[in-house]
Amino acid sequence: MLLCVINLMGSLLKMEKKVQFQRNLLYLSHLRIRKKGEVLNQVLVHIVLVGLIFAIFVFATAGRINGRDVKQQVLEKELALLIDSAEGGMEFGIQKAMINGKINNVEIKEGRVYVTVEGLAATKGYPYFSKYSVSVREEGNKFVVSVR
């Protein structure tokens, strides 16, 4: 009895495998007879989707690189270098609205330059080494740095 059941199960499994094989063959034959245009369309859709995914990530990375913190660092270092190379009696103005974003505040304290860009408050600042006294004042739509 047991032997009979085992034989039956074995033949059922063989049949199942055969059916599966035939299904696979059928699927492959369907693929083979697909028109070239269909394949081309699918490849195009793929390329567009992959391009979109990469574009999203590229823009996200570009946003990070052009972030407020980078602009702030550029402005602080440029200002510090300007102060370093300035002679006594020089003054220079920094427009509040500029290509590097809107400057909210420029501060000079304890030998460091602090710039607040688009609401991002400066934390570290950048040191300058001028032997002159440096001060900053707000004047209309610009900040004026005086080296005396």
Binding site: I53, F57, R64, G67, D69, V74, L81, D84, P127, F129
Partner: protein, 159 residues
């Protein structure tokens, strides 16, 4: 035309491929944006400015008067010029016509120069380091001789 089952299978396969592409893109751009160091290097410019300031301080109009610099100032040449900063090292050698050193001044962390010499052969970019030589008239007492000033400037990293 493909069967419904085949179309569904391909759709699932496409989702899988797009997911894979998204994961790869995220890995490339995500990780690179996390580790992207946006440190802008200005130490070279600082070294140039510092060299100019010190040379103007020591030899205005191209005349260097040795008598003006006291012995205390010889080890604090930056303070003498009013430019003291813990990130800087300045070493000045005053040479006569024959090339002999007749006076030496310095200030700052000379250890940074030692570290620089250690890593010199590594082929690394070496920002903030400058050697500058220029001719001067050296005045000592009532005599004036021709010579030159050799200046070594190191600007350390701002942490």
């Amino acid at each position: 035309m493909i069967s419904k089952r085949g179309a569904m299978g391909e759709g699932v396969f496409m989702i899988y491929r797009l997911l894979l592409v998204s994961v790869i893109a995220f890995a490339i751009f995500g990780i690179s944006s996390i580790f992207y160091a946006y440190e802008i290097e200005v130490r070279d410019s600082e070294a140039v400015i510092l060299t100019r300031q010190v040379s103007e301080c020591l030899s205005p109009d191209g005349v260097f008067n040795l008598d003006l610099i006291s012995e205390d100032s010889q080890k604090s040449i930056l303070s003498y010029c009013g430019l003291s900063n813990e990130r800087f090292y300045v070493g000045v050698e005053v040479l006569n016509e024959a090339g002999d050193v007749i006076a030496e001044f310095s200030q700052g962390d000379s250890g940074s120069g030692w570290v620089r010499k250690l890593t010199q052969g590594a082929g690394q970019y070496d920002p903030g380091y400058r050697i500058f030589e220029y001719p001067v008239l050296i005045g000592q007492g009532i005599s004036e001789i021709e010579g030159k000033i050799k200046m070594e400037v190191i600007v350390s990293h701002e942490f």
